[in-house]
């Protein structure tokens, strides 16, 4: 027995779902169903649709989402195709993820067509004002001819966007009206006669001037903005003229001889002298000199050089390796994860960081980009040697009684060797004419240790050495 199902033009998606659910529950095969679109405007269900509610039917959520779009396709076979696929899904629910299946590929293609049509409608509908601009609630209207039945599924977009005004989009198919906060659909409206709108002239001016005649890519334009939409868009009338004139305009630009600067240039540029920026810290002295360092290529990739900070008369100087990601961004030493560990251990042993001069052996962050991360790179001997200039200047300025060298790079910069660090740590090394150097581990070395036991031991060693440095300068 053949079932006839006639679906209304408004509310089609819900009507199809209701009908399909009933048919499926009754076990009626796709071959026995004839789907039709209502020719006559009224009637939610055709009379010969049996309204017997069936049992509960379970279908994959992804099917519902797809069906809710495919329903609005212009192809009259869409209802039957959906039901046919739904029928197959009963036995093979995994079909929804089988992108090689020909039926699914067809439905996905239709879905894509509807989405594209919806997208073009959101993009190319052009409103004209039909009320007075000073009305408390302004009023706009547009004429549009969508390829598929996309007015109903797209109406909510316009409602979310233009809720403080009245608007209507009239189409030869279904039209949508939004008045005083209420949305309604009506069928078969004639094309309205829309009044002139002054803002359109401004928009056309904008379109004309935002176009760059030196780069003509007509194909790229028409593939995204097919000609069939041009008649709704006031700016599109300009296109032939813009294209035709472009080569001559581009040539004229290229051939024009450079002109002399205008007379006002001198006066305008004299303003530059008054351009004080809050970014120019004007710290003066050594820190400012460090910040403008270009002694080695590292400065090109890093954000900024990070000078040491602390009281200029500090008894203890603490030297790390180089700024990390956070230090590079903030321009301050020891503020990233290693700096936080440093602060935590310092607090435990009662070492007051603000009383020490904290700096790095190398002042610029060395890294290699990996995706969205910057991977720290150990500075090489040449970079350490270049940067020793600044470290020595800081040492000369602070003249500390003791230097705590954290990690191999600091040890190398201060003692000439970064080798055998684990064996050397916890001891003070003396060199003629220089302050004594206490070697210890770098906090980031501890952060990198995977084994919890090793990490605890290394952390205890760092704490021991920091406590020792505190005592030695006390």
């Amino acid at each position: 027995m053949t079932r006839n199902v006639t679906l209304p033009r408004i509310g089609t998606a819900q009507a199809w779902r209701d009908a399909a659910r009933d048919l499926l529950a009754q076990g009626i095969a796709p071959a026995d169903v004839v789907w039709q679109e209502a020719g006559a405007p009224r009637g939610l269900f055709d009379d010969d649709t049996p309204g017997t509610p069936g049992g509960v039917v379970r279908v994959p959520r992804s099917f519902i989402a797809m069906a809710d779009s495919v329903i609005w396709h212009a192809d009259p076979s869409r209802f039957a195709r959906l039901y046919h696929f739904l029928w197959r899904l009963r036995e093979a629910p995994q079909l929804m993820s089988d992108r090689g299946d020909a039926d699914l590929a067809r439905l996905r293609g239709m879905e894509k067509g509807v989405h594209r049509c919806q997208h073009k409608m959101k993009a190319f509908v052009r409103f004209r004002e039909i009320g007075a601009p000073e009305d408390a609630r302004r009023s706009f209207a547009a004429w549009f001819e969508p390829t598929h039945h996309t007015v109903e599924p797209t109406a909510q977009f316009f409602r979310r966007r233009f809720a403080d005004m009245d608007w209507r989009i009239v189409t030869p198919d279904i039209s949508v009206l939004f008045e005083a906060g209420k949305l309604r659909f009506i069928e078969d409206q004639p094309a309205p006669d829309l009044p002139e709108d002054a803002s359109e002239a401004l928009w056309v001016t904008y379109y004309r001037n935002i176009f760059n005649p030196a780069r003509l890519k007509v194909q790229a334009m028409t593939s995204e903005m097919p000609k069939k939409y041009w008649k709704y868009m006031p700016e599109a009338a300009l296109i032939p003229e813009l294209i035709a004139g472009a080569p001559a305009r581009a040539r004229a630009m290229a051939e024009a001889a450079p002109t002399l600067p205008p007379a006002r240039m001198g006066a305008a540029q004299s303003q530059l002298r008054a351009f004080a920026s809050t970014w120019d810290a004007n710290e003066g002295g050594l820190a400012e000199a460090v910040r403008s360092c270009t002694r080695c290529p590292l400065h090109r990739d890093a954000t900024q050089a990070v000078p040491g900070e602390g009281p200029p008369e500090a008894a203890l100087m603490i030297v790390g390796e180089q700024p990390g990601d956070q230090e590079d961004l903030r321009g301050r030493p020891f503020v990233g994860p290693a700096g936080q560990m440093f602060d935590a251990v310092a607090a435990e042993v009662g070492l007051d960081r603000t009383k020490a001069f904290v700096t790095n052996a190398v002042k610029h962050f060395k890294f290699t980009p990996r995706g969205r991360q910057r991977i720290h790179q150990r500075p090489d001997t040449s970079e350490i040697n270049h940067c020793k200039w600044w470290l020595e200047a800081e040492m000369a300025q602070v003249s500390p009684r003791l230097i705590l060298a954290m990690g191999a790079t600091a040890a190398q910069a201060l003692t000439g060797s970064g080798d055998r660090l684990l064996a050397r740590r916890g001891r003070v090394e003396e060199r003629p004419g220089l302050p004594p150097v206490l070697i210890t581990l770098h906090p980031s070395y501890i952060l990198r240790l995977r084994d919890a036991g090793q990490r605890a031991e290394a952390r205890a060693n760092l704490a021991h050495d920091m406590a020792l440095s505190r005592d030695l300068v006390a």
Binding site: G100, S199, K217, P262, R370
Partner: protein
Amino acid sequence: MAQMSLDQKLAILSDAAKYDASCASSGSTRRDSRDGKGLGSNEGSGICHAYAPDGRCISLLKILMTNFCVYDCSYCINRVSSNVPRARFSVDEVVKLTIEFYRRNYIEGLFLSSGVIKSPDATMADMVRIARRLRHDENFRGYIHLKTIPDAAPELIAEAGLLADRLSINVELPTDRAVEHFAPEKKPEQIRKAMADVRLRKEAAGDRSHGGKRPPRFAPAGQSTQMIIGADGSNDATVLGQSTRLYSSYKLKRVYYSAFSPIPDSSAKLPLVRPPLQREHRLYQADWLLRFYGFELAEITSVTPDGNLDLQIDPKLAWALAHRGLFPLDVNTAPREMLLRVPGFGVKTVTRILATRRHRHLRYDDITRMGASMKTARAFVTAGGWTPGAMTDSTDLRARFAPRPEQLTLL
């Protein structure tokens, strides 16, 4: 001087803005005006409301607040030494244009940039005032992109980030040296510091406070930048190296490449030869491979000896042709990271292949239905009922893809 009409100002200040490539309006917070108390919405994906014959999308009202500028950047139409007509919008004019265009569904929002006048702070303060008027007085919920002035005070950037969806600062050129040469008043290290500041503010706004409250979102659509290609002698390896550093250092959403194009009244400092637009296109393709396809910079740029991308074929195909030993791949067994390297397969195609092959063996016809470009891909894969045979290693394989020489001539 006679008062300029709004139409005349718009003509000058949109003409002045066209060299900024960005027009994105996507990736911000979702919001709407269903409450009836405001205008506009933002739905995640952007909308291109029109296309100009230059192939560029028009999504935002892209204008300069003013094209008066005290800087003298040789590549810029608005440099102080140029003789272009000058104009300046009032705050009201920008607000009115944005709202009236938006109500007619012409645009997704505003992209506001400006020449620098009086001082960086004064210029930025005026731009922030426009954004504040739109957000607070007009209850505008559409998209706002502000081009920030690198030297502007941090508190102005802080407010700009709370009002705008996206902030951007142009690095202008691929190397510091080129910036110093072509844009003498701009300081590359200051531009980097400003980008670092935006990243830090954005991250701080993402952290919950101790009470679990989220602070207001800062520039929810992130920050971007633009580089002019072909004005200096940098090769593509240098350009892409700069991009990867910028992406990793400042978490940029996008780096835009803009092939240097002739401008009216151009400076004598600029090269006479313009780069082919194709170069810009290849850079975008390479940028995508680096960010979404797991390619390393050196893999892409080492294919050619001079560090420039092949203009005739896309960088993925160029890489595959140079590594034919890895192909053909069996679509039924190859891992995801290798499938992503097949020319003609996109991320979507690969996801579909992986989803489907869990259930069954894939045949050639199946792949054709998954969005792949088989004209390209077939030389590099095997599937049920298909093997490329000697095609993968054939000497004329490149010639099959490269366009014929006469098609190369660009305007």
